[in-house]
Symmetry: C2
């Protein structure tokens, strides 16, 4: 994290993810200069990068604005993610190495341990999310397509931004964990179709979990 542009990028990005800059907030360069502690040049560079990654929207001579996400955008995002993650899982099932299989297996066993342990739920969830990322990235890499890795990384970043208010329940985590276990079995069996199907379910379930429960429409 040596240079100013990267520092500015990280600072602004964190600000967006933690809600300091809510959706639709206008990001003025002068404010970000004091916020990040660097001059306008690296701030501008960071903003352009964030725009390329779809975190903000830049209009000519009108600066940057934090992107907001509609219900349809989320559907769109997760539908593509399901397609690509499914594809990655299928390819991975056909070509995963013993080492990567072991890494998957280890991560999932570690999840077991975390969930069975006697720690606070929030801590459990945080740890689970970290391992979740390991599982997915292992699958992506095992797919053997660098481009797929970068595209999926990109989509997941956006998904992260879209639901700043993480609504992870412990029940949701348990379902997710079962998916991972089944995914591992599919990989061990080198069954591409199975791996793809379970991965798609996994992602679509994640989409579903973002919507409020059916009976809990707000305002009543």
């Amino acid at each position: 994290m040596a240079n100013a542009a990267d520092r500015a990028y990280d600072a602004i990005r964190s600000g967006i993810l933690d809600g300091t800059f809510p959706p639709n907030a206008r990001l003025k360069e002068a404010e970000l200069v004091t916020f990040c502690g660097v001059s306008r040049t690296p701030v501008r560079e960071a903003l352009r990068r964030l725009a390329a990654e779809d975190f903000v929207r830049i209009q000519r001579n009108q600066g940057a604005q934090v992107k907001s996400w509609s219900h349809d955008d989320l559907d769109d995002l997760f539908s593509l993610r399901a397609l690509l993650e499914g594809h990655a899982a299928a390819r991975a099932a056909e070509r995963i190495t013993a080492a990567d299989l072991a890494r998957l297996s280890d991560a999932i066993r570690e999840m077991d341990a975390v969930l069975a342990s006697d720690t606070a739920q929030s801590r459990k969830i945080a740890e689970f999310l970290r391992l979740n990322r390991v599982v997915h990235e292992t699958v992506w890499q095992a797919s053997g397509s660098d481009r797929l890795v970068s595209m999926l990384g990109h989509l997941v970043e956006q998904a992260l931004m879209a639901h700043t208010a993480q609504k992870f329940s412990i029940a949701r985590v348990a379902q997710s964990h079962h998916h991972h276990q089944e995914l591992l079995r599919a990989m061990q069996a080198r069954d591409a179709a199975w791996a793809e199907a379970i991965m798609r379910s996994h992602i679509r379930a994640a989409r579903q979990a973002l919507d409020p429960p059916a009976g809990a429409a707000d305002g009543h």
Copy 2:
């Protein structure tokens, strides 16, 4: 094309596509300043943008370099393109409007006219490529996913860069034309599976056409 940054972007991008800056060429900011006729600030912005779009590679304190493409990169690129274009075609078949269908039909009929006309082959090919873009973009938009549109646009840009030396033969164009015609029939029949299958073939054929013919290994 009002501002300097966009002018720089267009100039450098064209330079890469037309071979002025060959693969692996180092792009020094000072040289680009004279090449584009703007100062370093917009040149740098253009380079970062090109890096985000995978046209160049930037290393810290070492500037930018035009990306080069290996055989495997091309496989990777077209394999993903086949997946996504196929997906877009399937979705489009299910939800395409009458207006878009007419647009597809018109573009294809225009291709007929161009191919049957009495003009130079190079002119025919150029015109065909323009209409080809119209056909594909219509399908993307009809898919109803903005994200898919931007991802595919991105992948096609990269494909364009990867084969600067366009090796389009008239025979290749004819095959491509037949694919388009069949795609239109699949759309008219609203047969998603058919549309997806023909689109995949279409993209994989395009990949194949980039490799030199089997018997024509260079150097002999």
